[in-house]
Symmetry: D2
Subunit: 363 residues, 4 copies
Amino acid sequence: MAGNTLGTLFKLTTFGESHGLALGGIIDGCPAGLEIDFDFIKSELQRRKPGQSHIVTQRKEEDEVEFLSGIYEGKTTGTSIGFIIRNEDQKSKDYNHNTNVYRPSHADYTYDTKYGIRDHRGGGRSSARETACRVVAGAIAKLILKKDGIQVHAYVSQVAHIKLKKKYSELDLSKTDSNIVRCPDAETAEAMISLIEETRKAGDTVGGIITCVCKGVHAGLGEPVFDKLHADLGKAMLSINAVKGFEYGAGFDSIHKKGSELNDLFETKDGKVITSTNNSGGIQGGITNGMDIYCNVAFKPVATIMQEQATIDSAGEATSIHGKGRHDPCVLPRAVPIVESMAALVLLDHILRNKTTKLNELF
Amino acid sequence: MAGNTLGTLFKLTTFGESHGLALGGIIDGCPAGLEIDFDFIKSELQRRKPGQSHIVTQRKEEDEVEFLSGIYEGKTTGTSIGFIIRNEDQKSKDYNHNTNVYRPSHADYTYDTKYGIRDHRGGGRSSARETACRVVAGAIAKLILKKDGIQVHAYVSQVAHIKLKKKYSELDLSKTDSNIVRCPDAETAEAMISLIEETRKAGDTVGGIITCVCKGVHAGLGEPVFDKLHADLGKAMLSINAVKGFEYGAGFDSIHKKGSELNDLFETKDGKVITSTNNSGGIQGGITNGMDIYCNVAFKPVATIMQEQATIDSAGEATSIHGKGRHDPCVLPRAVPIVESMAALVLLDHILRNKTTKLNELF
Amino acid sequence: MAGNTLGTLFKLTTFGESHGLALGGIIDGCPAGLEIDFDFIKSELQRRKPGQSHIVTQRKEEDEVEFLSGIYEGKTTGTSIGFIIRNEDQKSKDYNHNTNVYRPSHADYTYDTKYGIRDHRGGGRSSARETACRVVAGAIAKLILKKDGIQVHAYVSQVAHIKLKKKYSELDLSKTDSNIVRCPDAETAEAMISLIEETRKAGDTVGGIITCVCKGVHAGLGEPVFDKLHADLGKAMLSINAVKGFEYGAGFDSIHKKGSELNDLFETKDGKVITSTNNSGGIQGGITNGMDIYCNVAFKPVATIMQEQATIDSAGEATSIHGKGRHDPCVLPRAVPIVESMAALVLLDHILRNKTTKLNELF
Amino acid sequence: MAGNTLGTLFKLTTFGESHGLALGGIIDGCPAGLEIDFDFIKSELQRRKPGQSHIVTQRKEEDEVEFLSGIYEGKTTGTSIGFIIRNEDQKSKDYNHNTNVYRPSHADYTYDTKYGIRDHRGGGRSSARETACRVVAGAIAKLILKKDGIQVHAYVSQVAHIKLKKKYSELDLSKTDSNIVRCPDAETAEAMISLIEETRKAGDTVGGIITCVCKGVHAGLGEPVFDKLHADLGKAMLSINAVKGFEYGAGFDSIHKKGSELNDLFETKDGKVITSTNNSGGIQGGITNGMDIYCNVAFKPVATIMQEQATIDSAGEATSIHGKGRHDPCVLPRAVPIVESMAALVLLDHILRNKTTKLNELF
């Protein structure tokens, strides 16, 4: 029970179904005195919004957030911030056909089994629409991280077999949003877009990888032993719809190297401790070391396809289903701000948690 | 602060440094009336214990657990279970050489930066010795899971480039412990052992992958939206020392398939709902669907190598370090029971959490 | 930080200021399948509502709750329940005079000092208007408790020096709402009402005691050692605005008896274990014993009075303030449903927590 | 389940039964760099220890604490602090007579009902012996509070009908430990001691009140709306064995005053904001205002008496019981350090929580 909260000190609790009256959330633990940049929050929501380009779902959802509390005269007051996003385009009829049919690789069957009841419209609570609330909170977290000199960048680094060859350090991450697929390399982006277009025409879907990079994070964030920074980061990413894998630093590739090859040697540069390589991904023993954090998040292809699929209904009888409505052939372009939001939420929470670590900084 | 607790209802809180007086923990929320199989707990600890074979560290640690509370006349009483494991073989002098030197890719620098003070002996709290406590709690969790018909199996599926070709479903998982590397395929195991032997001779280390399979898990476990079962599972695995990546079901390979290829079609078999494939790894929308859960956990090579490495000391001055003492050339054989323990802890916690989901099952 | 959540398994998180756009909350962990009695929730809100009689504040707040999620076709779905209550009667001008003036015994100074910023209108987050959200969640909790045969009754047992002489067991608790002060004894009620009328005319305020009785609670609720049932109950009550004290069972009067007089002797009656007296208030060692739970909650007089009071402004300069607007001369009649709500929330949370206590009831 | 933890950032989790091998706990979240004054911890334990005078139980328990982790070379390292207290004087035979008999007003029946099993020896987990762990953690908390200029004083202010007439501000609190009953007024102390002596001779027990005063607490501690400082303080006190009531500031007496009499008027004195009276007990709106915090904690008479009492056994059959062994005729003298410990734990936790409140103090 009660799994709708993320965070320890900067806490986000959310609610809302895809086709209910509204989604929303409560941010508890936001420091007082933050000037809210409402335009920035809006722009972040627009990066996640359906209908933003021809390679994503054409659903129309304005995703306008309404803040109800915790902000006074444009500044946070330190009290809980309540917000809602009304559902405007509730074409539930698109979902009438699947009232009792379990869509393959969706959460229909599992919700039905767990709860004995479910709001079937658009996936209800299991819909990725829920992530809009994460973007709202993530945007506020980013505003605070900026005060601490931290930048969070995510981008699409792979779509199906089309893989961005360059490392994050070879890329101009400011170009991520210069194309609709959100890959900072123009050439690769083009190939990705073509593939997604083809996939959509075939009524199919593709997955891929989003890489996330956090720069400017100072050393010392993360808590031993269970709340290691990368463990909390991993959990946050894995909680995003359609995510199947997470790795940080050298990740799964670590196994192709020997210890002598993988170890990051310490050195001092301009009076600052750095490592000559960064296979650790900025995290050692679960605690940041001041180097860039980077990680990969694997998304499976969207489960809803415009093809006939065999399945069963809630009575266990064989039937089939054919996707209707307006769905994403590839969810990655819209997932970039979500990945950034999750990173920002985790980082900020750990920054706050780390504020009470050293006695001599307290009194 | 305060990251030494795992779980919501079945909670494990641990303490202890590698070379302090003792490690230990408190299990809170263990149901009352469980008969404790002390031999089983002991045998699980022995699977993790140093010195169990020639391919692991030759340190001598008996890892005898002493239960101090919560068990009366062999049965759990429902109150908190306190336990300790004394540190017997405290050869701290092996670590005298690195009092002020930051070992590459270890947590020395990050702990020092975070806390301003650290117990440098054997890595202190960042030592993998801490995982002994996880195995104690994991063993108790397994005893309970058995009552629910659940089995948790982990095995080494890859060491460096030597990869077990067969899927878990093609293996006899009861053979995992029949060899010292804990790979259920004899031939692959032999190759892995040879590689580890070579690596040790070279004073180097290698990493690999442990696959974990959970059978007999009924549908309905996992909590939307942040505490999805695989998110909690991922966090638990990522919190193990040296882990760099986690994937479940089709994992990162999902991106090489189209939605039409990856989707798991539902069918009814012998009156039970199953999916014809299981790319979902038994979890859909974060909730179990009754199929096997399987996941991969990537371990990097152990950071301590028997070679000279450049580094710095706590004053920032360049120096070098050469591993001493008795270390693992490959941590995977000993990590198998740890991975199983983390899976067991997460599953049990979610089983308990799921007990209050349906009103008509409550009253 | 982050103190806006109550409960472990049945969790209420709230937001909202007195004169912001809306108040609201999220209930997480509500079991699935509960038929929501919207009329009952409305009636509970009306018991708390301003303007319900001439002895309470004459502010007009309709307190209409809008449920945004977690309920589908009239039943809870097990997902988080979001709800809001719009603020309609935002006469903030009543508060313009105290923008920079610290009202005596209010939270103006403490909020200002803690946060460096505050929404001064109507007390902002510190306003008792926040308790409307508790009543919404409490009403839902009551609906579930009813399924378990539990009844929660609160009533006004003392206003200033006018004290209800009878014990709860001598009263007909169904008569509590038969008068506007919510004291089940008609005669005492009349005296209380007269006193409140006089007090209001004098521009002053009075406090008193609300007694709360929970019947039908089975044995076994409450968790040692910190989450004893009465400890959680006490915290919940003390978190209500204006509450200064809490006692349960014989309470403070226990000290006037010897152990031999106070001890409750066990006996068996009709096959059921009971105690011949109930000085324990239904709780022994922090765990319910099946007898009635009863407790007293002390409310101080409302701080806002219609008289001139000396105080200081935010610059520390001496000034004075005179209450304006529409305030309660005595908050107790409206606090009865709040006290009941807190009791219901705590009881339900502990019922859910207790569901995983015994192994043999789990599998 | 899982109620053995107190605190949010400074967390104490405990284990241990009265007659098991050991009690102990884990302190998680203790700031790094605190020099541990082991003598102070020992002296605090001695204030709670049995056998310290002729008016308390004559059991012999040395209560020697052994720290197992989290402290290196005398200083806290920021990692979890594990500690144990061995049970040395396990005269369980004193309890053989009550294996199946429910002692009146003890937790035997409720534990049995809740768990279906219990360690009956000496009350098992429900024994007040558990509070030794609170004193260990409380002593560490006090060491930190001292750095912040905070002092926590508790004293016995009432035993049965013998009431200390003076307010805390009229007393010399440094004299509390100058007599065995821990009442800072010599004359009253004498009367209390006589009463306890008489009571003991009669084989009976008496209760009373402990007053707790916290000085030097700066403004701003406490979190709206559920984690108000006095709510957390109340919960902590109510979780102590035998406590039946809690009040702070004017407490229950508030109801005998009008708002105009009770309100604390603000004024500026020597550049500091103070209130001319302090009926608020240093807490307004749940947040400290810089004035002294004071509260009363009511303890019932100890349930174990040296007299025959009627009761039932676990089969429900009528029987009787007569207290044996060495018990406290009055628990208050030994409860003084426990009350102080709970106050210290709550204050420190809220100090840490308050460290992330204001944005401009973070970056």
